[in-house]
């Protein structure tokens, strides 16, 4: 018996030796879109740059090369409609190397979407925000089509806020620590360096992080992940910047174990549609990878995108109509005959990271990244002290200020009817070419006002800074303990210190500015210490600080965020069914730390000497303080997800996700007036989200289909809106809490051959959702120049009473007194979005033509209009007419757009590739498509009747008319 066993072992050993002499490589070529096998992919095997074999994948995408001696090899995989992929591998000890899945990425015919794809909307002083979601498309048929075609209307997948989309860089979740917004602007212009990425949709699991409910993307960002070779491109477009020059070079992983990559670009110039919007931006990226052995690789990356871009402002429809141009931008004017934009974002926020990849075996791999973001992020704006509002479209400069209409009909209640002024105002705006000094910012006037003051500037250009120091650590691992079990997990930690301040950017011809709060001066002129932005300086020097260019002033505080957490997921495959489950647990805390003691909110004296000085100077301590550390907001966060995936016949699958998330609110959603004091929203709660989706996917023989149904509820959200109110002459802060939403709908994406014309496919997407508010939040209003919380009359069970906690009774719905109800919707994104088109690909030509339809997009609402007070008016009598008028939410008109994309590439001497892509959008030149906007948060209350209120006109952003992008590129 023992002999038999020994013989058997010997035979097995001999067989292994025999096999070792015929090493090889095998794997399965798969489409990253759906992960189905790709048939007839061409695989070229290289050794030392010489071709030593070719093969094609079988019907399941599988391939194998045998008889390979030990050594390093390269495998180049090509297939129609897919990007070429190269994999380097080693054959060791005569074994057959199993590459498992070799993912191919669908060719994307258009320039990658990034932050540049979206105009910078200037909403800083409006109380609202607009941060686009970027759908990364290449591995999903829905995202692939919707990502580009819907970007022009700032489409948000499933109606979710952009901050719910998780964006990772090298495994580090990099959503902004303060706001949660996507950090895309940090690498805009570095398209080549950030092209390689992994994306999951909805609540799907990712292996680089736990992910949320609105998809997650991980940009690899390392040198060896960049496409090998030298590339260059010249791009021009007509909506954002005139010229983009880009170059990149990547060595790929070299025999010496090093890989290097560099990517540089410049985006320059203005555009055809929005005057004053321009780019003057550079971008650079340097990276190196070093493989130490089979198990360890270190990556070093440093990049930044220093530059500036002019922003676009929203105006009322009255202004657009008078100008005959829905793209009018009130942010700019002529200075000495040259264009100057008052609102320019100036940034230079470098990122450096080190990543350690450790892969000791086929079953285990891990990544550890240490990432640091730092630098400056400034946004200029005009500031003025005791001078006239310089904005050309200020409401007192418009015809409507002199002729009051409601719904287009003159209304005497508004007490505005002066035909002469109305006529002249209308004339000026309708003949803006003759009156550039009145219909744009009149820089020359601002300078001349300053010249008249004998040194002290009345107008300056300030620069509001949000400078981050953001240190992140992320660790993740993947482990396959059993053939059908995968475990992934990770840890993360973040230390974010962000300084908010503003500085004098330009004295506009004056010699100095003075650091006093001109908002406070209106109410406390007789109490000089209350006007001080920097009380400590005032007390030390007996006067307010005299400011010169570069000096900080106004406000200065730190937002400090600390978070850490961990996650783990497990996946098991049971035949055709795979089950994944996972959880996340974390802790997040944040606080404000005031660096400047403001006269209105000095707080308490810190010592006896200070107390004595305050008594001497008549300074009254306050309960609220602008200086020092606030209370710390602390949250335990957690989440759980479950995924079921059933593969049907190899090319179809059904899968479903369900998840529950309890997340901390963000700093900017919690502090009532961080510019002035430490006060926070009361009764802070975590945001609770339940999300579920069920999906069906088919991918084979050129057919790709995904259909999804989803249902999500989001509860206990809070929000702080700070809007400049010139009636109060101060920033008003509206804090909302208890906002609940429900998002449900269906998504369909498809692409399949027409079978009539070769290489012609029919493609399309349908996104139909219902994104609604399901609760009425409560509102608390504060004003920056006053410690009081504003009281409003509210209807209580005892009748009208005054309250600082104001129910926003008409937020979720308009409830008329006769029982009629009208739903209010989550704003901005179209809730119906459809695209249908044809795509033709042949011999490196592509032509895509699509028609899009958008509907059910809604305007962002302000809470004030939905309160008892606003609806009732001054007489406290509520009528159906008042409710209907005041609480109405505007629905944007539907829009139809036509887009076309054409491209071709040529191979020259089998070595170089030259090509172009041309994208023409909105070919019907539809110039009436609203892409965003907001209601102004203030009431017309100076009526004759003193019975009711009226609304200020809302402000809008519009989409550009016919526009193009032409990209010419070469590669070798």
């Amino acid at each position: 018996m023992a002999k038999r066993i020994l013989l058997t072992i010997a035979a097995m050993f001999s067989a292994a030796l025999l096999f070792a002499q015929t090493g090889g490589v095998k794997g399965t070529v798969i489409n990253r879109n759906g992960r189905q096998g790709v048939e007839k992919a061409k695989l070229v095997l290289l050794k030392d740059a010489a071709t030593i074999g070719t093969t094609v994948s079988d019907k399941d995408g599988e391939f194998v090369f045998r008889g390979l001696p030990d050594g390093m090899y390269s495998l180049v995989v090509t297939a129609p409609d897919f990007l070429e992929t190269q994999i380097d591998f080693a054959v060791v000890d005569g074994l057959v190397k199993n590459l498992f899945n070799v993912g191919l990425t669908s060719i994307q015919h258009v320039t990658d979407l990034d932050d540049d794809s979206f105009a910078a909307f200037d909403m800083d002083d409006s109380g609202f925000n607009d941060n686009p979601t970027i759908l990364f498309g290449s591995n999903d048929v829905f995202n692939n089509i919707a990502g580009y075609n819907f970007s022009s209307v700032r489409f948000r997948a499933r109606g979710y806020a952009s901050e719910s989309q998780e964006v990772y860089l090298a495994g580090v979740k990099l959503n902004d620590a303060i706001t949660g917004y996507g950090p895309f602007s940090l690498w805009s212009g570095l398209n080549e360096a950030t092209r390689s990425k992994d994306t999951v949709n909805g609540a799907e699991f990712a292996d680089f992080g736990f992910g949320g409910y609105n998809g997650a993307t991980n940009i690899f960002g390392t040198a060896s992940q960049m496409r090998k070779g030298l590339r260059g491109s010249v791009l021009t477009n007509s909506t954002l910047y005139r010229l983009r020059l880009m170059g990149s070079y990547a060595t790929g992983m070299q025999d010496n174990g090093w890989a290097f990559a560099v990517n540089v670009s410049a985006r320059l110039g203005g555009n055809d549609w929005i005057d004053g919007v321009y780019y003057k931006s550079l971008a650079y990226y340097l990276a190196a990878d070093k493989v130490f052995d089979d198990a360890n690789m270190l990556s070093f990356v440093f990049f930044a995108t220093p530059g500036e871009r002019g922003a676009q402002n929203a105006s009322t429809q009255e202004v657009y109509d008078l100008m005959g141009d829905n793209m009018y931008n009130s942010n700019w004017g002529y200075q000495g005959g040259k264009v100057r934009n008052a609102r320019v974002r100036k940034t230079n926020e470098p990122i450096a990271f080190v990543k350690w990849e450790y892969k000791p075996s086929e079953e285990f791999e891990s990544n550890l990244t240490l990432l640091y973001r730092f630098g400056k992020n400034g946004y200029t704006a005009l500031d003025w002290y005791d001078a006239q509002d310089p904005r050309p479209d200020y409401y007192r400069n418009l015809p409507s200020y002199f002729y009051g209409t409601v719904g287009g009909v003159y209304n005497d209640d508004l007490n505005r009817n002066n035909p002469m002024k109305y006529g002249w105002s209308q004339w000026v705006w309708q003949h803006s070419g003759q009156y550039p000094e009145l219909t744009h910012i009149n820089w020359d006037r601002l300078y001349n006002v300053n010249y008249l003051q004998g040194g002290r500037s009345k107008y300056i250009q300030e620069q509001r800074h949000v400078d981050q120091s953001d240190l992140n650590m992320a660790y993740s691992f993947k482990y396959r303990p059993l053939a059908n079990v995968d475990v992934a997990g990770g840890l993360s930690a973040r230390i974010n210190n962000t300084e908010y301040y503003k500085k004098v950017a330009d004295l506009l011809g004056g010699e100095y500015f003075v650091d006093v709060d001109n908002f406070a001066e209106r109410e406390f002129a007789a109490t000089p210490y209350k006007l001080q932005n920097d009380l400590d300086y005032y007390l030390a020097n007996g006067q307010a600080r005299t400011l010169h260019e570069g000096d900080k002033y106004g406000y200065d505080y730190m937002a400090k965020v600390r978070s850490f957490g961990g996650w783990v997921t497990g996946t098991t495959v049971l035949g055709k069914l795979s089950i994944a489950a996972g959880g996340r647990l974390g802790y997040e805390s944040f606080w404000r730390e005031g660096l400047m003691r403001k006269g209105l909110f000095p707080g308490q004296p810190e010592n006896d000497a200070m107390a004595a000085q305050w008594i001497n100077e008549g300074i009254e301590p306050t309960a609220e303080t602008s200086y020092g550390k606030s209370n710390v907001a602390k949250f335990i966060t957690y989440a759980g997800k479950l995924n079921l995936n059933y593969v049907i016949g190899g090319n179809r699958r059904m899968y479903a996700n369900v998840g529950y998330f309890s997340d901390a609110p963000k700093f900017n959603q919690v502090f009532l007036s961080p510019r002035t004091r430490n006060s926070m929203v009361q009764d802070l709660k975590t945001v609770k989200t339940f999300s579920s989706d069920v999906n069906w996917q088919y991918s084979a023989q050129g057919i790709n289909v995904r259909a999804t149904a989803y249902y999500t509820t989001i509860k206990d959200q809070s929000k702080v809106m700070s809007a400049f109110d010139d009636l109060q002459n101060a920033f008003s802060n509206f804090a909302l809490s208890g906002i609940n939403q429900r998002h449900m709908g269906v998504e369909l994406g498809f692409k399949f051959p027409t079978y009539i014309i070769p290489d012609l496919s029919l493609q399309g997407v349908v996104a139909y959702g219902q994104y609604v508010y399901t609760s009425n939040p409560v509102m608390t209003q504060t004003v920056d120049n006053n410690a009081e919380i504003i009281q409003y009359p509210i209807i209580s069970p005892d009748g009208w009473t005054n309250s600082t906690v104001v129910p926003v009774r008409y937020w979720a719905q308009t409830n008329l007194m006769d029982g009629t109800k009208k739903q209010h919707y989550v704003p901005t994104t179209p809730q119906t979005a459809i695209s249908l088109g044809l795509a033709w690909n042949h011999n490196y030509w592509f032509i895509d033509g699509d028609v899009e339809y958008f509907d059910r997009a809604y305007l962002d609402m302000n809470p004030l209009y939905r309160t008892d007070y606003a609806v009732a008016g001054l007489d406290n009598a509520i009528t159906n007419e008042e409710i209907e008028y005041m609480t109405e939410q505007e629905r944007f008109a539907p829009a139809v757009l036509f887009n076309i994309s054409v491209g071709k590439s040529w191979f020259i001497q089998r070595k170089y590739q030259l090509g172009f892509s041309f994208n023409g959008k909105n070919l019907l030149n539809n110039r009436s498509v609203k892409t965003g906007g907001y209601e102004q948060t203030r009431l017309v209350d100076n009526t004759v009747s003193k019975e009711r209120f009226y609304r200020f006109d809302p402000k809008y952003f519009y989409m550009a008319g016919t526009n193009y992008m032409l990209n010419i590129y070469f590669r070798f």
Binding site: G270, V339, R340, N341, V344, N417, M420, G799, W800
Partner: protein, 387 residues
């Protein structure tokens, strides 16, 4: 030839791009500081401005007014030096200019006008299409009145920049005009002359004023509700004594302080014949609404009906005008000060209040319903000399 065509086509494509030159301006460096405006003179007319026809003196202009608003037509100009400033906040949305014959209130309906028009700066005013009118007897130059049902004024503000640009031209900044010292006889003469009185709108110094021991202020308990004479329930008069007010005016904070002190508790509510004094249910410390027939009109206070007047006044507190009465011989001079003035809460000199001292004051002389009014331009430490 082919190259030339290509170059020409490329050039044509470039220049056809909308505003191609302009769109590169912000990219290619910062613009230079703007040039200083060239002051306007008789011989240096800005482009597109009307040629000067004939000047009238301010006095001549005033004589055109015949009791109803006058729309000036024709190439008529006045010019004068700026004598007012809104830097202290006591003058709002108006500029007074003065020539050798008098001064006039130019209703430039903008805020912070001192930033635009310096003291001593000559302004050239093209009067065509402007309206000369009166506000309770005070001459004003503005635009045609609003055509609203509630309008009470003969003129409206010149608050549209294009109209200002067409009518008001900035000249040299010269030496500010020195105030004219006026005596009681001159004041009386001006009062009897009415609208054309020489002093109205002029920078003057009145010497030897004695405090008159009374003030006048009209405050609206809820300024958001109707408060005209037809709404006596929403008017509180402070008159015929000083009500303990020792400051030039009442800022919002000072007003609340005065209410809290109880100094205003006995103030009357109402107007004209409809007044409610301490003997009535309806004065400051009593309920706004009692349910009695007499006071039913005050139901307009709505949800605040259960509050006392004092509570309503505190709830809707704003800054308020105060007129202090002074005596120039036997003539009353009201010095009227805005609650938004930066010196609103400055206390009058104690000796002045007690009658032991006199004062010389400098400011703009105006007329209000046949009485002389006075507006301080500068803060009292500059414009009021107590001795």
């Amino acid at each position: 030839m082919k190259k030339i065509i290509v170059i020409l086509a490329a050039a044509a494509a470039l220049v056809s791009c909308r505003s191609l030159i302009e769109e590169w301006q912000p990219v290619l460096g910062d613009p230079k500081p703007s040039a200083q405006y060239v002051p306007y003179t008789d011989s240096n007319l800005p482009p597109n401005s009307p040629a000067i026809g004939s000047y009238k003196t301010i006095k001549e202009l005033k004589t055109l007014y015949k009791g109803t608003p006058l729309s000036v037509s024709g190439n008529v100009w006045i010019k004068g030096k700026v004598i007012s400033s809104d830097v202290t906040g006591n003058i709002y949305r108006e500029v007074y200019i003065q020539d050798e014959t008098g001064g006039i209130d130019l209703k430039l309906g903008k805020s912070s006008l001192y930033s635009e028009y310096a003291l001593g700066q000559t302004l050239y005013v093209y009067c065509d299409d402007l309206t000369l009118g009166a506000y309770n007897g005070m001459p004003q130059l503005g635009l045609a009145a609003d055509e609203t049902s509630s309008n009470e004024y003969e003129t409206s503000y010149i608050d549209l920049q294009t109209i200002i640009d067409q009518h008001v031209f900035k000249g040299e900044v010269g030496t500010p005009i020195a105030p004219e010292v006026v005596d009681e006889a001159k004041v009386k003469a001006a009062i009897s002359a009415g609208f054309t009185g020489e002093l109205w709108g002029k920078l003057v110094t009145i010497k030897g004023l004695k405090y008159g021991n009374q003030i006048f202020a009209l405050v609206y308990p809820n300024p958001n509700l109707p408060h005209k004479s037809a709404n006596p329930e929403n008017r509180v008069f402070l008159s015929e004594s000083t009500w303990g007010i020792k400051t030039w005016s009442l800022s919002k904070a000072k007003y609340i302080e005065m209410l809290d002190s109880g100094a205003l508790d006995q103030a009357e509510v109402g107007s004209g014949a409809t007044r409610y004094g301490p003997g009535s249910v309806c004065f400051v410390v009593r309920k706004a609404l009692t349910g009695t027939a007499q006071e039913s009109r005050i139901e307009a206070f709505g949800m605040d009906a259960d509050l006392t007047y004092k509570e309503v006044m505190k709830k809707y507190a704003t800054a308020n005008y105060v007129s202090h009465y002074f005596k120039l011989g036997s003539t009353d001079i009201q010095v009227r000060t805005s609650g938004y003035a930066k010196f609103a809460d400055q206390v009058l000199d104690a000796g002045l209040l007690s009658g032991g001292k006199s004062a010389d004051i400098t400011g703009i002389m105006t007329i209000y319903s046949g009485a002389a009014q006075f507006t301080l331009v500068d803060a009292p430490e500059t414009s009021v000399k107590v001795y």
